[in-house]
Symmetry: C2
Subunit: 218 residues, 2 copies
DNA sequence: CGTTGCCTTGAAACATTTCAAAAGTCGTGG
DNA sequence: CCACGACTTTTGAAATGTTTCAAGGCAACG
């Protein structure tokens, strides 16, 4: 159940587990919408989720791609404030907010762990804001690939590759671009010899250092 | 001491207070840099702070303007990850991370309150990401004015005005624009009859509803 | 009253978007 | 196994919004 239970005595795990509900969503199905009352905290067991917000003219901004182990549904208000959709067939578990809150009070180690996770979410969204505000298309793509690569490496993937399970349209909506600009950006990175596009959803890094520099905004 | 102590029994306040240190910074002085070890949690008593990140080519992205009562310094890693600078003469207090963590465990009400504050920070940075990713210059300005207006209204300001204590350069670096584009955007909003620029750092809303719609991305 | 710093305005350059079409991928059925 | 159609990705050319570079206006200050 993610990193949430690090440091939690094993004897308490069943309590946490018993109070959770299991939920499943197929690819493309919606888990909740931004205006829905924020009743639960979710944890991904398998699959992936996109968090996004829609503008009134149909602009979609994806605010995060989440994977196994990620926790979400954290909100300060009545509603979630973001929508969540399954980006692949996904298994989750969820807790009622109140119950979850009780756990955090009951098990201080879990409270600490929760703060760590929440601050990671914050750090990630600051990374995104920096990318959207101050990086050009090519740099945003580099940052995205490096970010995904690190996330996938944690899950056992190789150090010089990245797979893109999401569509160009999803990537575009995450990076604040259009699919055409994403496509052109990938082509540019290829022509510069930084990456190799094996197939449209699998990239090999040819010069990871240069990619990292680009990603920082060089 | 901000909203952090809501629900905390008065008898505990001195403990919290005693363990804090007071810090002052004059306008323009740096409080910490992104690479500094994240040793403290800060709370603003008076004044304002900008959180920002610098790119290697000198690009500055401001990630937040913070005011009295705001809490910051939350980070998942060893370092702060963002830099903090006084945007006006500012008085703060700070706690050592470890001690602060102890309080959160000791006083569950404070833990809850902290989670609320942390999730507000997250929500704000998601708002910023949406603005940077999917709004044009005019819309970003509208969103910024509405946001500041709400923040200032909480502190007792009128409902149809906003003061801009920060420079055009700060606004530009927050909205991912240049000062020229900010200036032109303000002019456009003026010409459309949505705002009135009384002086360069004080704006009156002439059509707040239209402004809000723009801010949402209409 | 001139200097300094910040804000505004103008014109050309640039990056990204928009619109349009071609190329590639995938599953289905002949 | 190839052919077909639907869908996604890539490429091209024109349009658009923002940036860059340059100059002018304005207020504060000595």
């Amino acid at each position: 159940m993610s990193d949430l239970c690090v440091g939690l005595p094993d004897s308490k795990l069943p309590i946490l587990y018993d109070s959770s509900e299991h939920v499943e969503r197929n690819k493309g199905e919606i888990l909740f919408e931004d205006v829905d009352p924020a009743t639960h905290i979710f944890n991904i067991q398998e699959g992936s989720i996109t968090l996004y917000r829609m503008g009134p003219s149909g602009q979609r901004q994806i605010l995060g791609f989440l994977f196994s182990g990620d926790l979400f549904g954290i909100s300060p208000g009545e509603s979630y404030g973001v929508s969540a959709e399954a980006c692949a067939d996904t298994k989750l578990c969820r807790w009622e907010r109140n119950k979850f809150d009780d756990f955090l009070v009951l098990f201080p180690a879990m409270g600490r762990q929760f703060r760590l996770i929440a601050s990671k979410s914050l750090a990630q969204s600051l990374d995104l804001a920096f990318a959207l505000g101050r990086l050009n298309a090519e740099q945003r793509l580099a940052a995205f690939f490096i970010h995904l690569n690190e996330r996938q490496a944690e899950m056992g993937a190789g150090p010089n590759q990245v797979s893109l399970p999401m569509s160009r349209s999803d990537i575009a909506d995450y990076l604040g671009l259009t699919i055409e600009t994403v496509s052109r950006g990938i082509t540019k990175l290829k022509k510069k010899g930084l990456i190799n596009l094996i197939i449209s959803d699998y990239i090999e890094f040819l010069d990871k250092e240069a990619l990292k520099e680009l990603a920082e905004g060089a």
